[in-house]
């Protein structure tokens, strides 16, 4: 998937992946995609919740080994 920005949150715990995601998505233009990588298992529910609440769609997600990868599109 084409991504415009990568954010590495591996090793970080709640709520840092969410705080950094918000900061990162604020730098993007509408329609651009952020690739977020995290190892916190709680980030799966948290990123989904953040996406629903803020309206920035989670267009895809996958798991590579112990890393959760999320593709978030700026609304």
């Amino acid at each position: 998937m084409k991504t415009d920005l990568e954010l590495d949150c591996k090793g970080l715990n709640c709520p840092l992946p969410i705080l950094k995601t918000k900061k990162a998505i604020d730098t993007l233009a509408s329609g651009q995609v952020l690739k977020l990588m995290a190892t916190d298992p709680g980030s799966v529910n948290d990123v989904n919740a953040w996406s629903r609440r803020t309206g920035n769609p989670l267009v895809a997600s996958e798991k590579e080994g112990n890393v959760f990868v999320f593709y978030l599109q700026k609304k």
């Binding site: 709520p15 840092l16 916190d40 609440r53 803020t54 309206g55």
Partner: protein, 161 residues
């Protein structure tokens, strides 16, 4: 979506405790709520007020806290009487948080400041404890119960911590 009926969701909290462990919930929830596009205000009162001081000196004690996991199992009442135990427990907790990728309280507080969280210091507590406004970080508002309640009256979530 955070904006329903034309206005964002609002979180209003009271932070009343000033230990290292209890400093986390208000700053963590406030910064996260702001990242979720909510309006956030926190009223710092009684022992919560020092959380707004420029230099944080937060500690944690095993005394009267039997739920605190400790590396060496020991009856709480004995452990709490060991000299230096509070300093030990505090440094253990800070080290553990760091190792597990948890943000420092200072970082979460800074995230609150940067994301526009309203930080309201209790004027009455300030007077009682002889604090002065210059001891607090920039951006702190001072006010009383009415200041908080005016904000909280339109809140979707209210929490007392």
């Amino acid at each position: 979506m955070s904006e329903e009926n034309g206005r964002p969701k609002r979180l209003a909290m009271i932070a009343s405790k000033g230990t290292l462990d209890w400093a986390y919930p208000p700053f963590l929830l406030a910064s996260t709520a702001a990242a979720m596009d909510m309006e956030v205000g926190v009223f710092f009162t009684f022992y919560g007020l020092p959380l707004l001081k420029k230099k944080l000196d937060l500690g944690v004690t095993p005394l009267a806290n039997p739920a605190m996991p400790m590396p060496v199992p020991m009856p709480n009442i004995l452990m709490a009487n060991v000299p230096g135990m509070d300093a030990f427990a505090t440094s253990m907790m800070k080290a553990k948080f760091k190792k597990k990728g948890v943000a420092a309280v200072e970082d979460l507080r800074q995230a609150c400041v940067e994301s526009g969280v309203r930080l309201i210091g209790c004027q009455m507590t300030m007077d009682v404890f002889d604090f002065t406004p210059d001891q607090f970080i920039e951006g702190v508002e001072l006010g009383g119960a009415a200041t908080f309640l005016e904000f909280a009256a339109d809140a979707d979530i209210t929490l007392f911590i």
